[in-house]
Symmetry: D2
Subunit: 178 residues, 4 copies
């Protein structure tokens, strides 16, 4: 499936995508990877390390755009496999209701969620991960931290562009924000 | 754990519970068991057959009360294991946000959700089931039906007390109501 | 504000928009207008009559795209005022969490939500309306019907492209699906 | 209506209520009062000052139990009017889906939400307030603070029993947690 989707992605050349990004909001999915116990309680949260659109390194959640013709849940699975590897065994949610919608703007002032390349509207989901992860492609590293570590100053300072805030919103939704 | 909870349940005698039920709303959990595919999409929904509070047989979802001192997610797991067996491997949701709250009243007119024994306030969750189920204890039978079957007149007619409506609300939440 | 937004809309010529629609999913908002009583309970639901993308007349909810640089809540207000008039006094929700996400595809088979022009991803909200409405611009007519009428065969048959299903999903979310 | 409900409350004597509280989880509603602008965006949040179950003074949100036979939305309105006055004009949500469920336990260790009197399960809602408020009955004071003030150390330190955490969860749900 990944091949089909990749070829589909090439329907839009880099230049065309760049032009579109100056004209239209782009549909994104954000996935906050978590480990849960047998009761479903979040025990840890996965933070990638990667180069952000502004060039800075930042801790970040899984994120990527939805392609033309692609279902939101296909995009979720594709980006999770791209960032966490194909053995990650994500539990894509049964409901299409995201826990929040994140609006990234080229200007950091509008919402505090910042993407210098584009205006993106991201559907954000918490996704329990059952399998083994290895960061792949653009992700340089992956750490699993406890909910309280994830909202600590140490990790919050390592997240730019609003990622730290998104992580705390996910923790709040799961009832584990300290 | 089940033993601990059972002994905890006996802190309230049948008579005391009966008295309390005439005085206070009782906290319940309703769990709609579903099968999902690798993309998280609901493929089928599990319907129990059991004797309802009014004595009638009805198709129904998993339901039961939250005990004193018990976490909501513990109650969810306990009732699912009680009705579907201990090999059901339910995926209790990471978030405590229910998809709806169902208010059961002794009078069928108030909300359409009816329980002649009591006023119950149920937190309703959709719970993906990974394992093997066998109906146990009070449940006489379990069938897995497609979303469209579950909302068909045939199955809706087999559900009383608002159970058919609750099933359609769960399907709507998962984006698979026809 | 409407003027600013309209000029912003013209940043994309009709031809460019048409090209983009063949390449990228477009961000939409769907707003289900409702009347509520003092307790917040939905008493009626507003259904527009308008020409759908396929040329057919259909009962429909408020819908429209999010412009480049526009906040989701600005787009909601703009489209509600465009369809219901500036005296509608909509109560745009405090939370950005939509009750569902609707995926419209050029092919009616993918999700059942159909838009022959484009792949659109719509954030769907229930929006209480306090003021006086008069259908404007593209909307030919507006009727307020009870929740049970809205899900009746009569009105469901007047809605195409998945609109009838979206209305029932909104009713389910509000606990008033029959 | 308030009179009817008050008499209904007396169906349970203080002693009986005290006994029930040692045996059963009690159904509660928590309401986070907010002011919103024309776009629905939260501009400020209302914090009461009141004596908590443990005797301490604390900043807190509106909270109270659901009576036997009472709808959740009736309980929301009743407690808001009790704490904020009858001119508060609250916008009780159209959907029964709470943004979270808060589990208060007699032991502060279980969830961090603490009520020494009882095990309470609270359905938590964000409720926009349109009218004029004056703290009444048990509430000694009411202040409206910005989202960033509400999550600041100053106000967080004035909230005990998990109230500060609940406020931040509400802010996260509304997309305005700093």
């Amino acid at each position: 499936m990944s091949d089909i989707l990749d070829s589909r992605a090439t329907w839009l050349s880099d230049e065309e995508l760049s032009t579109a990004r100056e004209r239209l909001p782009i549909v994104y999915v954000d996935a906050v990877p978590v480990r849960v116990d047998a009761l479903g309680q979040v025990t840890s949260i996965g933070l990638l390390l990667r180069a952000m659109p502004n060039g800075q390194l930042s801790r970040a959640v899984v994120s990527g755009r939805v392609l033309y013709g692609e279902r939101v849940r296909d995009a979720l699975l594709r980006h999770i496999e791209k960032d966490l590897g194909i053995m990650a065994l994500p539990r894509v949610p049964a409901s299409p209701q995201p826990f929040t919608v994140v609006e990234y703007f080229p200007s950091p002032e509008v919402t505090g969620f910042h993407d210098p390349r584009q205006h993106a509207v991201a559907l954000a989901f918490v996704v329990p991960i059952d399998g083994d992860c290895e960061p792949s492609q653009d992700a340089l590293d992956l750490v699993w931290v406890s909910p309280s570590e994830a909202s600590s100053a140490q990790f919050q300072d390592e997240m730019s562009g609003g990622q730290g805030r998104l992580v705390r919103m996910a923790l709040a939704h799961c009832g584990v924000l300290n």
